[in-house]
């Protein structure tokens, strides 16, 4: 059953290669020998039951959580075998959007976007302002949002601002943690198309943890399903034919039918 489940093992030059990752909290094993390849330039959606470890997988790849066993390569480099400086340099190649944007609440939107830029680059003030304005426009925020504090923004705008900060250094890989959670259907659809457009325009690889079936059908090239402490990767159509009971239920349930996944 595992052989056809991961048909892409041994992908050439993937953006992210996860091998045999084990994560456990106390006695609870979350991931047990998890393998995953994310191809360059694709949008991969990660789904799974609550508590299956979707966010943990994301946190492990970006280094917020350290795996008990296994290896993680990002852009061909094993993140555990890098010096501090090399890891810092690698970090420039990815951006992370957390669930509610995770903007620094004591700073304006513009200052938030400037944090990573100032951390890695030494730009002239006028150039810095220009880059900031560009990033704000890129994610579809009005220019006057720049001087606002996160508490003055709506949930959707906070996510866009968080996205602008994640894109501040023109990353190759974008990690999104439930980008459409908490948005109304129109806002969620707009956010989906924003991500799709940005992904195509900037050539991004997108790793997206989601619960939203509409996002999965609309923008994901492939879907990784977390079941039995491992992942099963496939396109939407291949997963629709998959035998695993949880996957069947997920893609053939009433909500999936409403989202048009079950065609």
């Amino acid at each position: 059953m595992t052989a056809p489940a991961t048909p892409d093992t041994g992908e050439k030059d993937p953006a992210i290669r996860v091998r045999g990752v084990v994560n456990k909290f106390g006695e609870t094993v979350i991931h047990d020998g998890l393998d995953l390849d994310v191809r360059r330039g694709e949008v991969i959606g990660v789904v799974g039951a609550s508590g299956a470890g979707k966010s943990v997988l994301l946190r492990t790849i970006v280094g917020l959580n350290h795996q008990a066993e296994g290896s993680i390569e990002v852009l061909g480099r094993d993140v555990d075998r890098l010096s501090d400086d090399e890891r810092e340099a690698l970090r420039r190649h990815w951006g992370v959007l957390f669930q509610d944007g995770a903007l620094f609440s004591s700073m304006t939107v513009a200052q938030n976007i400037q944090v990573p830029i100032k951390q890695f680059l030494d730009l002239r003030p006028d150039l810095l302002a220009e880059v900031t304005a560009l990033k704000i426009a890129l994610v579809g925020l009005p220019p006057d949002a720049a001087v606002k504090y996160p508490s003055e923004l709506s949930g959707g705008m906070r996510k866009r601002a968080g996205l602008a900060r994640a894109l501040a250094l023109d990353p190759d890989i974008l990690f999104l943690d439930e980008p459409t959670a908490g948005l109304d259907p129109i806002g969620a659809a707009a956010f989906d198309s924003l991500i799709r457009n940005l992904q195509q325009a900037l050539g991004l690889t997108v790793f997206m943890v989601t619960h939203d079936l509409d996002s999965l059908t609309a923008i994901c090239d492939r879907i990784a399903v977390l079941v039995d402490k491992k992942v099963i990767v496939g396109t939407l159509s291949s997963l629709l034919r998959h035998e695993h009971p949880w996957i069947r239920e997920y893609f053939h349930g009433p909500r999936a039918r409403a989202a048009g996944a079950d065609k």
């Binding site: 280094g63 917020l64 970090r91 957390f98 509610d100 995770a102 903007l103 620094f104 609440s105 990573p116």
Partner: protein, 248 residues
């Protein structure tokens, strides 16, 4: 708990070492903002309480010592207790309640909001950005606050004694000068940076321990204040033993 706190102390020490080698990494703006919040803004409350404590000490001293006809020694009682212990202890406890709790709540809320995670993924070290400026700010401001508290406490005591014993300010100062050496004052002040370090360390440590919910912010804020005051009293006891063994 103690082991994790010591591990955290280790992380902070490493960050301090790095900051000493690269002083440009110290976030001066954050240090000054924290000094204003936990130092300058605390002046009214620290001043008022110190003044009142001075008055109370003077009254109690005169009350008891009059029975022996030794009421003039109320000045010694006031000066020794205020300068050696009460000024620094009361200020430290007040700042633990005022700023230690604020550190925990601020950092804890940032943790809940995933701001700390965002910081780490942007390559910023939360200890360098959040913890060091708070520790540095408190280590600088607490000795100043203690000096201020000492002065206001002595002023309150002096006014009460001059009224009760019908003394002139000159008489008070002459008696004060003969009653205590300058060392008494320094014994109080020297403890302040250590208390400040303990309060800020615990405040930040508990803030970073917050996980998940607003409920956890509240619980750990309470815990942070209790632990900070506890640690301050332990340190104070340690200092007392140390000072008496070296004969100060």
């Amino acid at each position: 708990m103690a082991r994790n706190l010591i591990a955290f102390l280790g992380l902070v020490t490493i960050a301090i070492g790095r900051a000493i080698r690269h002083p440009r990494r110290i976030r001066v703006t954050a240090v000054i903002a924290n000094m204003e919040r936990s130092g300058f803004n605390a002046l009214p409350i620290v001043g008022l309480l110190s003044f009142l404590i001075g008055v109370v000490l003077a009254y109690q001293g005169v009350d008891q010592l009059t029975r022996f006809g030794a009421e003039i020694f109320s000045i010694n009682l006031l000066a020794v207790s205020m300068l050696r212990e009460i000024g620094v202890l009361m200020t430290a406890i007040l700042i633990a309640g005022r700023s230690g709790s604020a550190f925990t709540a601020q950092i804890g809320t940032m943790k809940v909001n995933q701001e700390i995670d965002a910081m780490s993924t942007l390559g910023l070290d939360p200890i360098e950005v959040l913890v060091l400026p708070r520790i540095l700010a408190l280590v600088i401001t607490l000795p100043l606050l203690v000096f201020y508290s000492d002065m206001l406490g002595m002023l309150g005591g002096a006014i009460a004694l001059m009224l009760l014993l019908d003394m002139s300010p000159t008489q008070f100062l002459i008696q004060l000068n003969s009653a205590i050496p300058m060392g008494t004052f320094w014994v109080g002040i020297i403890k302040a940076p250590f208390f400040a370090f303990a309060i800020a360390l615990i405040g930040c440590y508990e803030g970073l321990r917050v996980s998940g919910s607003a409920e956890s912010v509240g619980r750990l804020t309470t815990q942070s204040v209790v632990e900070a005051i506890f640690l301050v009293l332990i340190l104070d006891a340690g200092f007392s033993i140390l000072f008496s063994s070296i004969g100060i």
